[in-house]
Symmetry: C2
Subunit: 200 residues, 2 copies
């Protein structure tokens, strides 16, 4: 019996194949529209493996979101280490938009996977909902810490504003009707940093 909470690293080979297939299908076609039969088939396994390892579709959805969250977090922190390790907090705040630009280019052609998932999971008790809100709160927390370091007069407000710019850019990016929305968001972020006194 699967635990439903295992990380990707501890998964059996069959479970990893299931999770990878589910991740692609859920994001590209929608969660509700994808059935467990298709997931098992695409993974080259059977439904038995899926149910033995994850317990059910809802738990698999949660595992999909957890894995996507894990990848985004390590992407963002890795990007900041690689491109803004020696930079000040203000530059690091702006670098989050660069990280977002490259992330959306690679993994978000259909918009934010978490916002899309939230659209399909109206039940507040669904295990995936918690992961979605945690993901957004984590980003806001990162921005808040950097806002404090940057010397913002009201770091909470600045974090809210930058979160708003991140989300707006991701959504517009998914709808593909504005040129390079992430660059626009970054430019707006610069203004906001100036006004908020985040000068360091």
């Amino acid at each position: 019996m699967g635990t439903g909470t295992a990380e990707a690293g501890e998964l059996t080979p069959g479970a990893r194949k299931v999770l990878e297939a589910a991740s692609t299908l859920f994001y590209e076609r929608g969660i509700t529209a994808v059935g467990v039969d298709l997931i098992a088939k695409e993974a080259g396994t059977t439904k038995k493996t899926l149910y033995d390892r994850f317990g059910g579709k809802d738990a698999l959805i949660a595992a999909y979101l957890r894995e996507r969250d894990r990848r985004w977090r390590s992407w963002l922190t890795g990007w900041l280490e690689e491109h803004a390790a020696a930079a000040g907090p203000r530059a690091r705040l702006l670098a989050t938009f660069d990280a977002l630009a490259e992330w959306t280019r690679r993994h978000n052609p259909r918009g934010c996977g978490f916002v899309n998932a939230a659209a399909e999971l109206p039940d507040p008790a669904h295990p995936g909902r918690r992961i979605i809100t945690d993901q957004k709160l984590w980003l806001r927390g990162c921005l808040y810490e950097l806002a404090v370091e940057a010397g913002a007069a009201d770091p909470g407000r600045l974090a809210d504003e930058l979160t708003l710019l991140h989300e707006g850019a991701t959504v517009l990016r998914g709808l593909a009707l504005v040129d390079d929305p992430v660059a626009r968001a970054r430019a707006l972020a610069e203004q906001t940093l100036d006004r908020a006194g985040a000068t360091r």
Copy 2:
């Protein structure tokens, strides 16, 4: 046989009941998760009426989006007439955020219905996709016209930025993890109008 393009005003009583039930269910529970049997039952009609009037589920989805789009457009234009008729273009641009605030308070507890629908309609050929992009482009067009009137140096860029703020606020409003995101977006919009030279 239904035309699939009729406006709400020309619908038969049975068709209107179907459309109203579908609108509520699609928005609150998700498009894919709601079946035609449930829609007919909630509408107090039968599937026959649904299929006679709309032709199929996909056409009903398109009718739902068309009706929601119609309501949002008339809401925004009505708000501007009522609250900013005598105001200048700059004040009217800011008033779009007030209109959005009241709209989301009334009709958007689960986020933007169009963004949510886009998440569930990956097929670019789906009749609903066109309506979604048209809705976003219409808003951008409104903002663009006002940006020109307000004397913005680069009205296209300003319209993109304000669209981004609208979308970001709507998404955060649906996730309910930031206090009053629309007010934050409005404040950011004021800065942006200043910087863009939209002073009239």
